[in-house]
C-alpha cells in the first residue's frame, strides 16, 4: 500500500509477518507432530528432532548358559540385541552405569572372565574359555540409534483406553441441540426488536446489550440450586442433557439476538413496506422475507454457538457433572492432565481429538465466523 514491493521495508514486513505466523502456529504444530510420534521417542526427545534418528538407552538379557554352543574349544552364546528391530547399536557396555563404554565391534571383558562383543547391527557374542553356568543370562546394556517413527498408536490408545471416544459422543450430544434450538427463538425475538413497533423496545434492546457481558459465573450457583429444586420436585436427576441444552440456549441468546437484530436492522425498509402494502402481516414478512435473507447472520451465530458449546468446560462441569460417564471432551482432557500429566502421548493425542472438530469448522466456515465477529462486537 505504502511501501513499494521492492524496497527493503517490504522485506522487513514480509519477515516480521513470517516470524509472527511461525510464533502463532508452532505450538499447535508441535502438538500435532508429537501426537503422531512413537511414544518412547516422544518421551525422550523434543518433537523438533522427530525427523532425526534418536538415541535410546536399552538393555537386553542374553540367553542363559543352556543356550551355549562349543566352538573350537570355546563356549559361545550368540544372538541379536535388537531382535530384528530397526536401528543400529551406537555403543554398548556391561553395566547400567556405563551403557556407552564400548564402540560396536570392540570387546568388553565381563566379570566372569567372558568376553562380550556387540556389532553395529546388533549381533553379539559372549565367548568363554570354560563352560558358562547359571540359567539367568548376561545383561547387555546398549545405546541404540532408532530411526524416527510415526504412528497412529497414540490415537488408537486414547480411543480405546482413555475414554476419549465416549467423551467425543458426549460433546456432540451437548453441542448439536444447543446450537440449533436457540436459532429460531432468537430470530423471532431479533425481528421484533428490529422492525416491530411496541412500547419498551428500546429498553429491551438495552437489556440484551447489558446481558451480553454478564459473567457466566453469576448464573451458576442460582441455576444449580434451581435445577436441584426442579429435579427434586419432578423426581428426575438434576444433571441432565436437557438441562445443559437449555442452559447453553440461555447463555447464547443475548449474542444471538444482538447479532441477528443488527443484521436485520440493516435490511432495506422498502421490501417490508411494499409487502405490508400488499397485506402481509408481520408474521408473513418474517417467515417469507426476513428469515431467508438473514441466512448469513444465522450461519455466523450457529458457528459461534457451536464453537462455544464444544469448547465449553465450565457449564458442562456444573450442569452435566464430572462423573466418568458424562464427561465432555474438555472435561476429560482436564482429568487426564491431572491423572496422566506426564504421559504426553495420551495428552497430545487427546488434545488433538478435542480440537480437530472446531478446527474443521473454523477452516471450512471461516467467512461466516469473521462476519459474525464484525457484527457482534458492540460498536
Amino acid at each position: 500500500m505504502i511501501a513499494s514491493s521492492r524496497s527493503p521495508l517490504a522485506w522487513v514486513v514480509h519477515l516480521s509477518v513470517a516470524l509472527l505466523v511461525i510464533l502463532w502456529t508452532v505450538p499447535t504444530a508441535g502438538l500435532l507432530i508429537s501426537s503422531l510420534r512413537d511414544k518412547d521417542q516422544l518421551a525422550v526427545s523434543g518433537w523438533w528432532t522427530s525427523l532425526a534418528d534418536s538415541t535410546q538407552n536399552a538393555v537386553f538379557r542374553a540367553p542363559g548358559a543352556d543356550k551355549q554352543v562349543e566352538k573350537n574349544g570355546k563356549f559361545v552364546i550368540s544372538g541379536n540385541v535388537l531382535e530384528g528391530g530397526a536401528g543400529e547399536v551406537a555403543a554398548f557396555g556391561s553395566s547400567s552405569l556405563k551403557p556407552g563404554d564400548f564402540e560396536p565391534g570392540q570387546t568388553a571383558d565381563l566379570n566372569g572372565g567372558e568376553k562380550l562383543t556387540v556389532q553395529a547391527d546388533g549381533s553379539f557374542e559372549i565367548v568363554s574359555d570354560t563352560a558358562m553356568e547359571g540359567t539367568r543370562g548376561q545383561r547387555i546394556f546398549y545405546q541404540a540409534t532408532v530411526p524416527s517413527r510415526f504412528t497412529f498408536d497414540n490415537y488408537r490408545e486414547v480411543f480405546a483406553a482413555a475414554g476419549i471416544g465416549a467423551s467425543f459422543i458426549n460433546s456432540l450430544t451437548v453441542a448439536i441441540p444447543s446450537t440449533i434450538i436457540p436459532i429460531l427463538v432468537a430470530a423471532f425475538a431479533a425481528y421484533a426488536l428490529a422492525w416491530m413497533k411496541f412500547p419498551g423496545r428500546a429498553i429491551l434492546v438495552a437489556v440484551v446489550v447489558g446481558l451480553l457481558v454478564v459473567p457466566l459465573q453469576m448464573s451458576l450457583i442460582p441455576l444449580l440450586k434451581l435445577y436441584n429444586g426442579v429435579g427434586l420436585f419432578l423426581g428426575v436427576p438434576a444433571k441432565t442433557y436437557v438441562g445443559i441444552w437449555l442452559a447453553h440456549m440461555g447463555f447464547g441468546l443475548p449474542l444471538a439476538i444482538y447479532l441477528l437484530r443488527n443484521y436485520m436492522v440493516g435490511l432495506p425498509r422498502e421490501i417490508m413496506e411494499s409487502a405490508r402494502v400488499d397485506g402481509a402481516s408481520d408474521f408473513d414478512i418474517f417467515v417469507k422475507i426476513i428469515l431467508p435473507l438473514s441466512f448469513p447472520a444465522l450461519a455466523s451465530f450457529a458457528i459461534f454457538q457451536f464453537l462455544w458449546t464444544w469448547n465449553d468446560l465450565l457449564v458442562a462441569m456444573v450442569f452435566l457433572g464430572a462423573g466418568n460417564e458424562e464427561l465432555v471432551l474438555t472435561g476429560r482432557l482436564v482429568n487426564l492432565l491431572g491423572s496422566r500429566g506426564g504421559n504426553w502421548e495420551i495428552l497430545t493425542a487427546s488434545a488433538f481429538v478435542t480440537i480437530i472438530v472446531p478446527l474443521i469448522v473454523f477452516f471450512s466456515l471461516q467467512r461466516f465466523l469473521v462476519r459474525g465477529l464484525l457484527a457482534g462486537s458492540v460498536k
Partner: protein
C-alpha cells in the same frame, strides 16, 4: 451412539416445538382478531390489537429464557452473597468480610488485575500490528487465517498445547518442552515455569494472548480497511512517511474500534477460568477470581454464599463496561 440419536431427536423435537409455537400462536391470533378481507372500524380495531400482541408472541420464548437463565440468577446471586453456605440464613456482610481477609482472595484480585493490565493490551497491540502488516503483502490472508486459528481451540486444548511447551525435565536430561530446550540451547538452566510464583501468571497469560490476538486482528483489520483512502493519500502528498501515516492518520481514526476490542477482551479476561484450572488449578499463587469462585461452589460440599460473593465481585468489575456498551448501543439506536 444411542445418546447421540436421542440428542438429534430432541433437537428435531425442540425445533418442531418452536415452529409449532410460533405458527400456532400466530394462527390463533389471526383467528381471534381477523382483519384480512374485512373492512370498516372492526377490521382496523382488530389490526391494532394483533399488532400490539404479536411482538410479545415473537419475544415470549426468548424473554422467558433470558429471565430464567440470566436475569433471575443475577438477582439471586446478590441475595445469596448475603446468606450463609446453604443460602438460608441471612449473614449480612460476613461473606465479604471473610473475603477481604482471605489471603487467597487478595491473591486472586492481584492476579486478576495483572491479567487485566497485560492481556487486553498485548492482544490488541499484536492484533493491530498484524492487521496493519498483513494488509500490505500478497499472502496476508493466509497469514491471518493461521494467526486467527487459535480462536477455534478451546481454552483447555490451548492449555495442553502450552503445557507441552513449558514442560520441564531435570537439568542434564534432554528437554522435550520447547521453551526449556531453547533456554538450555542458549546456555541457561531449565525451569518449571508454571510453578514460579508471580511469573507463572505471565506464562498463563501468554495462552490467552495467543488465543485473543486473532480476534483483535480480524476486527482491527476491518476497521483499517474502512479508513477513507483520501485521508491517507492526502498525508502521502504532504510527505508523511509510513510510520507517521500509521500513528497520526490511521490510529486516530480507529480509536473507537480499538476500545471495543479492548473491552471485549477485558470481559473475556475477567471470566477466565479454564486456563488456570487446567494449568495450575490456582497453585503456586496463580489463583484468579473465576477459578476461586468455582472452587468455593464445590469445596467442602459447596459454600454458595462465598461463591456468590466472589461472583458479585466479578460482576461489579464488569458493570462499567456494561454501562458503556448500553450507552453506545442506545446512541446508535437513536440514529435509526
Amino acid at each position: 451412539m444411542q445418546q447421540l440419536f436421542f440428542a438429534i431427536l430432541t433437537m428435531i423435537a425442540g425445533v418442531l416445538a418452536c415452529v409449532v409455537y410460533f405458527f400456532g400462536t400466530n394462527f390463533i391470533l389471526d383467528r381471534l382478531f381477523p382483519s384480512k378481507g374485512l373492512s370498516g372500524p372492526n377490521a382496523s380495531r382488530n389490526l391494532r390489537i394483533t399488532n400490539a400482541i404479536r411482538p410479545w408472541l415473537f419475544l415470549g420464548p426468548a424473554l422467558i429464557t433470558l429471565a430464567v437463565y440470566l436475569v433471575y440468577p443475577v438477582i439471586e446471586s446478590i441475595r445469596l452473597a448475603f446468606h450463609d453456605k446453604s443460602g438460608i440464613e441471612f449473614v449480612g456482610i460476613r461473606n465479604f468480610v471473610w473475603m477481604f481477609n482471605d489471603g487467597e482472595f487478595r491473591q486472586s484480585i492481584f492476579n486478576n488485575f495483572l491479567w487485566l493490565l497485560v492481556v487486553p493490551a498485548l492482544a490488541t497491540f499484536f492484533g493491530l500490528i498484524i492487521a496493519a502488516l498483513t494488509d500490505r503483502i500478497w499472502w496476508g490472508n493466509i497469514a491471518k487465517t493461521l494467526i486467527f486459528m487459535p480462536m477455534a481451540i478451546s481454552f483447555v486444548g490451548a492449555s495442553v498445547i502450552w503445557k507441552f511447551i513449558y514442560d520441564y525435565r531435570p537439568e542434564g536430561t534432554e528437554q522435550i518442552g520447547l521453551l526449556n530446550a531453547l533456554v538450555v540451547y542458549f546456555g541457561g538452566s531449565p525451569e518449571a515455569w508454571v510453578t514460579l510464583p508471580f511469573w507463572n501468571n505471565f506464562f498463563l497469560m501468554v495462552i490467552l494472548i495467543w488465543i485473543q490476538t486473532g480476534f483483535a486482528m480480524v476486527i482491527l483489520s476491518a476497521a483499517l480497511r474502512g479508513i477513507p483512502e483520501e485521508t491517507v493519500e492526502a498525508a502521502v502528498i504532504d510527505g508523511a512517511n509510513g510510520l507517521q501515516i500509521f500513528f497520526k492518520i490511521m490510529i486516530p481514526q480507529i480509536w473507537g474500534t480499538i476500545a471495543v476490542v479492548w473491552t471485549t477482551i477485558t470481559i473475556t479476561v475477567l471470566k477466565v477460568f479454564d486456563i488456570v484450572l487446567a494449568m495450575t488449578n490456582g497453585q503456586w499463587q496463580s489463583q484468579v477470581l473465576a477459578n476461586l469462585m468455582f472452587d468455593w461452589m464445590f469445596r467442602g460440599g459447596g459454600d454458595f454464599g462465598r461463591g456468590a460473593a466472589i461472583a458479585l465481585v466479578i460482576m461489579v468489575l464488569v458493570v462499567p463496561i456494561m454501562v458503556w456498551n448500553i450507552r453506545n448501543a442506545t446512541k446508535e439506536m437513536e440514529g435509526h
